[in-house]
């Protein structure tokens, strides 16, 4: 540093001879020629130099602060010094994505690493993820997700879900989100740009923050050609299971017997019935008798000899068999998921000016649901060439081809979903009975009798197949010309093309489509983008000012088309072709095109390389708005001061290496989706007829404007062994474009309006330290903390509340002025009003306010009015991770969690309402006395002493956990998760050198999502349900189990 002599540097040779530099920095060591000598010192980069090299005379050690002054990629691909940034940008290195067993969940790699970032997961493996940064900024939840940018070009991620067999929008087939189209092995690093100031230059698409992905290239590597190879394997097993009861079997409420009658035999069948006085008690609920071995007539299958025997006349006679617990009905449905990934990279820096990197990865996955395989191929080419003295060229081209043989409709409450079926089974069922899902294969009839008439879960997985062939090509070519001294021009063109062919099947005899159903969908999306950036840099020596001016413009043109054809009944069962329809196929067309043109500029000033100021301005023209509102301008200002470069804070002693304060203010405009400014008629399915749209367009829509300011502090101390970053932000979105619910009486459900404003205010902090650092051992600890408060500042003239999202009429996410956007409302229990009293058993007057008011049959009741239930957003979130390195061995462990947060849970409902969970065991024998009061009719109350009999226990639980009772099914999502554990061993180079051809080798074993501490009654407090085309927070509608993933990876570089 500064050319000063450095005392105390450890100097070692390969043979282990060592010494330490003296106060003048001098040293002497004996080494053989060709041997390597290593210089290491706390807080400095270790340097290795061959003995005999002339540079040994003056060894320069860079201090960590200098190393850390790295460039980050900011908006538009502009590389900036980290210390020059007036806003918060957090970088995550590639190693964090190395554990992605499946390509879909590489986002796990940033989960818990970045303060301010929130991920809502669609349930199930490979499910969609919804990434939001610094809270919900708009009333349109689908519009609040972050922008993904790959190598400077925004990705075009269109909606990806398809409704499940025409059962409406309450749940969907999750085809994954577009971010899954990135090969995690190709990611060099990811920068998360959080505030509006960071993204002001990206404009409206990045109003909710941006995730900037830089892919790997060969330009940085040594002047040679390498081949690297990676192979990995991962297994997914169920992480956890709700508390299921294994004492009582399937059955109808109130009956003390069990009798299986195959439903299609009908009630008229006589003579076959061994217990003629009983009809079937098979039910999707588990209120049946105790599984104590009592003999009942149970499931039978003549062909397989289950549940009966062949008598002397050769006919099948049913036998009563013991009613017992036959094991884990739930877990046994799922398989161990398997993921195999193989990748090869050819990377070469051909000479000083030209480099190329080609990679190929394939990914083969067997999901946890039976019959759900998929195969994905990635090919990437990235090259960089210097065409002449002043012209250079960068190209990046990526291909992803996915072949999903079956994407099951996994979650959601509707007959086509796997979980809907699965929750009908009970422990008295041996799941192998259900696995043989045919009742009569010749006539294509499923055996749905064990689920009380709902679809057989195995039939859904094996016959109701949804497949997908998806091809995506994206990339860009960028040319940079050095026009004059300090002036350069970058011109870039990008494409992003996706072709997606999907088929969906509902087999004949399914509940939703008894006559069969088949749909083909062709989904194509295209994005063409072009931009230029003119950059001028100059230095004014006198006041020591650096000036950089950028001026640029871009055109992004997007088109999307979704053509579908549906056969609503099949002529021949089991033949899935549009020709096999018994009526003209229904056609659907959902297409749009849109374009945004922009001009923008930025002026950056820095004084003494210590005080920085950025001013930006951008004007957008959007095709989605009407001519009057189409053009909108927004500015930003940001600045930072690096105090330690201005004042002496003991940098020389390594006390303070960086002390930076930053502040920014910015506005970003946000346009809307296409075709919301003029009404057009909707098709109705009946040729030649029309209907008006249920959401009303609005000519006067104007862009919503996010204004935010942010202050922050960054500190690095003790030779960079300790780092701290703190940010406070306040962001207000005005003129929210919302789909405002209006009374149905208007003939429309929604009106698009600009109304109201939302504020997000929060703090983010991260702290990191290197606790031990020696030549062989390094122990690092990192933690981060995020807290965001969302407030609805106003809702606009004459508007008191909005429904932001809802599930049926059971639960609502509703915004009130002064409340939070994510506040949840629903019905609750009827309770005695404040001040109510009753006489207890001892004749004493007791206060019974707030106690449950029971009905005439002593059951809890549900109110008719809605009440506030709680907020679905957490109070705060945090992450903690630590890594320990000893020589070539690295151990990493990461936790994250949240405090507060709730969800309306249908899994909770199904567990309790249907008697599947242990919480419903109380009172099954001997009854129970519900806690509560009853009205006496004259406005007074008595404390209940009456019992619910075992015969009525099911209706008691039915009332207690009524579907419409939001309070009963509103549960906490507070959790602490062991997100990741990883052990990696890099083989010593010395050892590898002996092989002559392997230059690097490492092997790692890891586990993702291994443990979760939560009171959440379902599978995963983080997973919510896909609805329509989006993952909507706040509602968990029969989620899929989440898996723990165990994997191993081998990396070889030749």
């Amino acid at each position: 540093m500064n050319g000063d002599a450095l005392p105390g540097v450890a100097v070692f040779t390969n043979s282990g001879v060592g010494t330490i530099t003296d106060e003048k920095g001098a040293y002497s060591v004996v080494a053989k020629k060709g041997e390597e000598i290593q210089f290491s010192c706390l807080g400095y980069e270790t340097v290795t130099i061959q003995a005999g090299s002339p540079s040994l005379k003056r060894v320069v050690l860079k201090d960590d602060a200098q190393i850390l002054e790295t460039a980050v990629v900011t908006a538009l691909g502009i590389k900036r010094d980290e210390k020059a940034l007036g806003y918060s940008a957090q970088k995550v290195e590639s190693e964090k994505f190395a554990n992605s067993g499946t390509t879909g969940n590489w986002l796990n790699g940033i989960s818990g690493q970045v303060a301010g970032l929130n991920i809502d997961r669609g349930s199930g493996p490979g499910g969609s993820m919804r990434v939001t940064i610094r809270g919900e900024s708009s009333a349109d939840l689908e519009n609040n997700t972050a922008l993904f940018v790959v190598d400077g070009v925004p990705m075009y991620n269109t909606s990806t879900a398809s409704d499940a067999g025409g059962e409406g929008s309450s749940f969907a087939i999750d085809y994954g989100n577009g971010a899954a189209d990135i090969d995690p092995d190709n990611i060099e690093n990811v920068t998360v740009l959080k505030g509006a100031a960071a993204t002001a230059l990206y404009g409206s698409q990045a109003a909710n923050g941006a995730i900037i992905i830089t892919t790997k290239s060969a330009s940085g590597q040594d002047n040679k050609f390498t081949v690297s190879f990676k192979t990995s394997f991962a297994a997914d097993v169920l992480l956890s299971s709700p508390d299921l009861q294994y004492e009582y079997g399937q059955g109808v409420a109130g009956r003390d017997y069990y009798y299986y009658l195959n439903s299609a035999e009908g009630e008229d069948v006589s003579g076959l019935n061994p217990r003629p006085d009983l009809s079937s008690t098979v039910s999707m609920e588990s209120w049946g008798p105790k599984m104590d071995g009592t003999e009942y007539y149970q499931y039978y299958n003549e062909a397989k000899g289950i549940g009966g025997h062949v008598d002397e006349f050769g006919s099948f006679v049913r036998d009563a068999t013991p009613f017992i617990n036959r094991g884990d009905w739930f877990k046994s449905y799922f398989k161990t998921g398997l993921t195999f990934t193989n990748g090869i990279v050819l990377s070469g820096r051909l000479n000083q000016d030209n480099s190329i990197r080609v990679s190929y990865t394939n990914n083969k996955v067997e999901g946890i649901v039976p019959n759900s395989p998929s195969m994905t191929h990635f090919i990437s080419v990235r090259s960089s060439n210097k065409l002449g003295k002043w012209l250079s060229l960068e190209t990046s081209l990526n291909y992803k081809g996915a072949r999903n043989d079956n994407i099951p409709t996994s979650s959601g409450y509707g007959s086509t979903s796997i979980m809907y079926s699965l929750w009908c089974y009970a422990p008295n069922i041996d799941m192998s009975w259900a696995a043989d899902y045919w009742k009569d294969q010749a006539t294509f009839k499923q055996d749905a009798s064990l689920t009380g008439g709902k679809n057989n879960a195995y039939f859904v997985a094996n016959q109701c197949i949804n497949n997908q062939k998806r091809d995506r090509v994206y990339g860009n070519v960028s040319m940079k010309a050095d026009i004059a001294k300090g002036l350069d021009l970058t011109v870039r063109g990008g494409i992003d093309l996706t072709s997606d062919f999907r088929t969906q099947r509902q087999a004949t005899s399914t509940q939703a489509k008894p006559n069969g159903w088949y749909r083909e969908q062709d989904i194509d999306s295209k994005q063409f983008s072009g931009d230029f950036l003119l950059k001028y840099t100059t230095h004014f020596a006198k006041p020591d000012i650096d000036l950089t001016a950028n001026f640029g413009g871009s055109i992004i043109s997007r088109s999307y088309s979704n053509h579908s054809q549906t056969a609503s009944a099949l002529q021949i069962p089991g033949v899935y072709s549009l020709i096999n329809t018994s009526h003209d196929p229904l056609t659907g067309n959902n297409s749009y095109q849109r374009q945004t043109n922009s001009l923008y500029g930025m002026i950056s000033l820095s004084w003494k390389n210590a005080v920085f100021l950025d001013v930006t301005g951008r004007n957008d023209w959007s095709s989605t708005l009407s001519a009057n509102n189409r053009s909108f301008f927004y500015p930003s200002v940001s600045g930072s001061v690096v105090l330690n470069d201005l004042f002496e804070f003991g940098r020389a002693n390594g006390l303070i290496n960086l002390m930076k304060i930053r502040a920014s203010w910015a506005q970003v405009g946000n346009d809307t989706a296409p075709y919301r400014i003029q009404n057009y008629y909707q098709g109705t399915g009946f040729p030649g007829t029309v209907a008006i749209p249920t959401s009303l367009s609005n000519q006067n829509l104007k862009p919503e404007i996010v204004s935010s300011w942010e202050v922050g502090l960054e500190l690095k101390m003790f030779r960079n062994r300790f780092s701290f970053d703190f940010a406070f932000y306040d962001s207000v979105t005005k003129d929210l474009i919302s789909q405002m619910p209006v009374s149905y009486a208007n003939g429309v459900n929604y009106v698009f309006v600009n109304a109201g404003s939302i504020r997000n205010r929060g703090i983010e902090a991260s702290i990191g330290g290197t606790i031990i650092k020696t030549r062989d051992i390094q122990w690092k600890v990192n933690a981060n903390f995020t807290r965001n408060r969302n407030t609805v500042v106003s809702l606009g003239e004459g508007i008191d509340s909005w429904i932001v999202a809802q599930y049926s009429t059971h639960a609502y996410m509703t915004a009130y002025e002064g409340g939070s956007l994510t506040a949840m409302y629903g019905k609750g229990y009827v309770r005695a009003p404040q001040g109510s009293v009753a006489i207890d058993a001892d004749g004493k007057m007791v206060d019974v306010s707030g106690m449950l008011v029971l009905d005439s049959e002593n059951r809890p009741q549900t109110t008719t009015d809605l009440q506030y239930l709680g907020d679905c957003a957490p109070d705060w979130k945090g992450g903690f991770n630590t890594s320990f390195k000893w020589k070539g061995l690295t151990f990493y462990i990461g936790f994250d969690g949240q405090v507060g947060g709730h969800v309306f849970s249908y899994t909770n409902w199904v567990l309790n309402y249907r008697g599947k969970g242990t919480a419903t065991l109380a009172g099954r024998e001997g009854g129970l006395i519900p806690v509560g009061v009853r009205e006496t009719g004259d406005g007074n109350y008595v404390i209940n002493t009456q019992e619910i009999s075992p015969a009525n226990i099911a209706t008691y639980y039915h009332n207690k956990y009524d579907q419409t009772n939001g309070e009963a099914n509103f549960v906490s999502t507070q959790f602490l998760k062991l997100r990741e554990v990883r052990l990696e061993y890099a083989f010593p180079k010395k050892l590898l050198a002996k092989t002559k051809f392997i230059s690097q080798a490492s092997i790692s074993v890891y586990g993702n999502n291994l443990w979760c501490l939560t009171s959440f009654p379902g599978f995963d407090p983080e997973a919510v349900t896909m609805r329509g085309s989006a993952v909507i927070p706040g509602f968990e509608i029969l989620q899929m189990p989440t898996t723990a993933q165990f994997g191993a990876t081998l990396n070889l570089v030749f």
């Binding site: 009908g266 708005l625 009407s626 209907a691 019905k827």
Partner: protein
């Protein structure tokens, strides 16, 4: 160098200006329809309305009006037959029919723009029909401001005012008068039809539309007659154009035209004139609401004993659980020519609706209901339940069909057409008007008995196309209702029990017709229904209205609480009578169900 930069700036500026002019095209959806003739609205409105009404009948009216009892133990927390009806369960009429009302309003505006009298008339009939269903279900509802937002593009009103039911009914009558006049005018000008593609119910036949509109008019006048009689002496003020009408006089005029089959107010002339809406199980948009209903769910409704008592010959029994029930007396119960039915013929419609002859007592507590279903008395020797379920068997080819009389009758679950309104209803309307002495021509016992008998006969033919007016069974049953059946006063049909007889038969005839029989019950108190069974809630009052949807409080922030406070005493209850049901005579008779 500067030159190049200037060129570049100019280039970018020019290209963005050029693309901006392209933006006007781009902001319009090239695949969408921005205009359509008014007749394009007709079929979707009719179809979705009938779909909704069928589904409401099965889920709600069938239970409220004691056609059926719910025996689904898997939803025991919400039992409509016991009047445990939370919000949300009955939102369908509101959320579906108001959307259709918005379409009808848009259709009307379009027809006015087109200067198309015929389509204005059809739109008014649809509007009148829809708003009457909505107000009859919920009471005071938005009307004057309803549907007004549809297809507007400059909206700044988010609250929608409620109107009194009396004002709404005034407008319904004006709309039906206008519709009759407008379609009549179009017919006079030689227009007889519109596109059959847009109207699968009447295939564009304007004469049938006009007849349907005037039949609704008869229903509408009947709905308000008792109330207007009590409140305003039978005179109802309308608007400036139609001034004041005497409800009775207008009803008499309609009766005259009904008898003649023509006149100023032509009405339906036969079963063939009924609005029958087509459905299909082969084409998704035409599925019935029951397309996905499994046989298990379909069987979750059992026949109520009120139904079996009124349709079959029974003996009163007490079962081992001390529950009184009615057992079918004759056997075998399926129609069989060899059985002597002369004493008490079974109602021919029973076989079209129910399989098995025992009905469930209404409003049992949950465990009593389970015990009743399980009791040995209610099982056959083979162990099969004797309790009636809606017919949905499977014939030899695996197609749904009622058991026993395969494919001969209407199939409740998978029919290919369902009526929006029955022809027989007109006979019952005029029989009631006759029995109440409102129509001179129909006021003698003989006159309204004849109307009553014709009503029963047409209703049988509506449900049993395998029978004719002269079939022995039809004749026997019609004869039995007039001369054999004993009503609650212990007598056969006479002038004193005529209203009960007529409205009980009308109740049967309204099976599967939306909410119509529930409206009749609230209006007249008939049929006599028990409302104080062991499990009955709601202060033993058969719900007088449905609760406004629970999200209305969020969607209609200002007007909703106003309406709640104006006529419901601040709570969204199901005990306040709607305007036309709030009569002394109706309340008196409804009280009979509470002993």
């Amino acid at each position: 160098m500067k030159k190049y930069i200037n060129y570049l700036i100019i280039l970018v500026a020019v290209s963005s200006v050029l693309s901006c002019s392209k933006f006007d095209d781009m902001s319009k959806n090239p695949y969408a329809l921005y205009d359509s003739p008014s007749e394009g609205f007709v079929h979707p409105i009719v179809f979705k309305t009938e779909y909704n009404l069928m589904s409401v009948f099965r889920s709600t009216t069938s239970l409220l009006m004691q056609y059926a009892v719910s025996v689904n133990s898997e939803v025991s927390s919400r039992v409509i037959d016991n009047y445990n009806i939370p919000e949300g369960v009955t939102d369908d009429i509101w959320s579906t029919l108001y959307i259709q009302y918005g379409d009808a309003e848009a259709m009307y505006k379009k027809a006015v723009q087109e200067n198309n009298d015929a389509m204005q008339g059809v739109a008014l009939i649809l509007k009148a029909f829809l708003i009457s269903q909505i107000t009859d279900t919920y009471g005071e509802v938005p009307f004057a401001e309803a549907g007004q937002l549809s297809f507007q593009e400059n909206v700044n009103r988010f609250s929608t005012k409620y109107d009194t039911q009396k004002d709404i009914y005034r407008s319904i009558i004006c709309m039906l008068e206008d519709a009759n006049e407008l379609i009549g005018k179009a017919q006079d000008e030689g227009k007889i039809s519109f596109s059959a593609v847009c109207d699968k119910t009447f295939e564009g036949n304007l004469d049938l539309w006009r007849r349907f509109g005037n039949s609704l008019y008869a229903r509408t006048l009947m709905r308000v007659a008792l109330k207007v009689e009590e409140e305003d002496g039978g005179r109802l003020e309308l608007d400036e154009k139609w001034e004041v009408i005497s409800v009775k006089a207008r009803l008499a005029q309609l009766y005259h035209d009904f008898q003649s089959g023509g006149g100023d107010y032509p009405q339906m002339r036969s079963i063939e004139d009924r609005p029958m809406v087509p459905f299909s199980d082969q084409f998704e948009p035409e599925h019935t609401p029951f397309y996905t209903t499994t046989s298990g769910n379909w069987n979750a409704l059992a026949a109520s004993d009120v139904m079996t008592r009124n349709m079959l010959d029974y003996v009163i029994k007490v079962d081992s659980d001390e529950i009184t029930y009615y057992e079918y007396k004759a056997g075998p119960y399926y129609f069989d020519d060899t059985v002597d039915r002369s004493g008490h013929p079974e109602d021919p419609r029973y076989d079209a609706w129910w399989r098995k002859p025992t009905g469930m007592p209404v409003q049992l507590t949950n465990d009593a209901r389970i015990r009743f279903l399980d009791a040995a008395e209610h099982k056959s020797k083979a162990g099969n339940s004797k309790i009636g379920r809606m017919t949905c068997g499977v014939d030899g080819n695996g197609n749904p069909s009622p058991s026993g009389i395969t494919q001969k009758v209407f199939n409740l679950k998978n029919a290919t057409e369902y009526p929006l309104m029955q022809f027989s209803e007109l006979y019952f309307i005029y029989a009631e008007a006759g029995a109440r002495n409102w129509i001179a021509d129909a006021s003698g016992v003989a006159a309204y008995l004849e109307l009553f008998q014709k009503g029963i006969r047409e209703s049988i033919l509506e449900w049993r196309p395998d029978l004719t007016a002269s079939s022995a069974w039809t004749l026997d049953y019609v004869n039995y209702c007039s001369n054999g059946q004993v009503y609650s006063d212990g007598n056969t049909f006479n002038s004193d029990n005529a209203l009960e007889a007529i409205l009980t038969q009308k109740w049967l005839s309204q099976f599967y017709i939306g909410i119509e029989s529930w409206c009749d019950y609230r209006r007249t108190g008939y049929p006599l229904l028990r409302t104080d069974g062991p499990a009955a809630a709601n202060n033993h009052i058969l719900p007088t209205r449905m609760r406004y949807p629970s999200d209305e409080v969020y969607r209609n922030v200002v007007a909703y609480p106003e309406a709640l406070n104006r006529w419901l005493g601040g709570t969204n209850n199901i005990q306040t009578d709607v305007w036309w049901a709030d009569t002394r005579i109706s309340k008196q008779i409804r009280l009979l169900g509470r002993q």
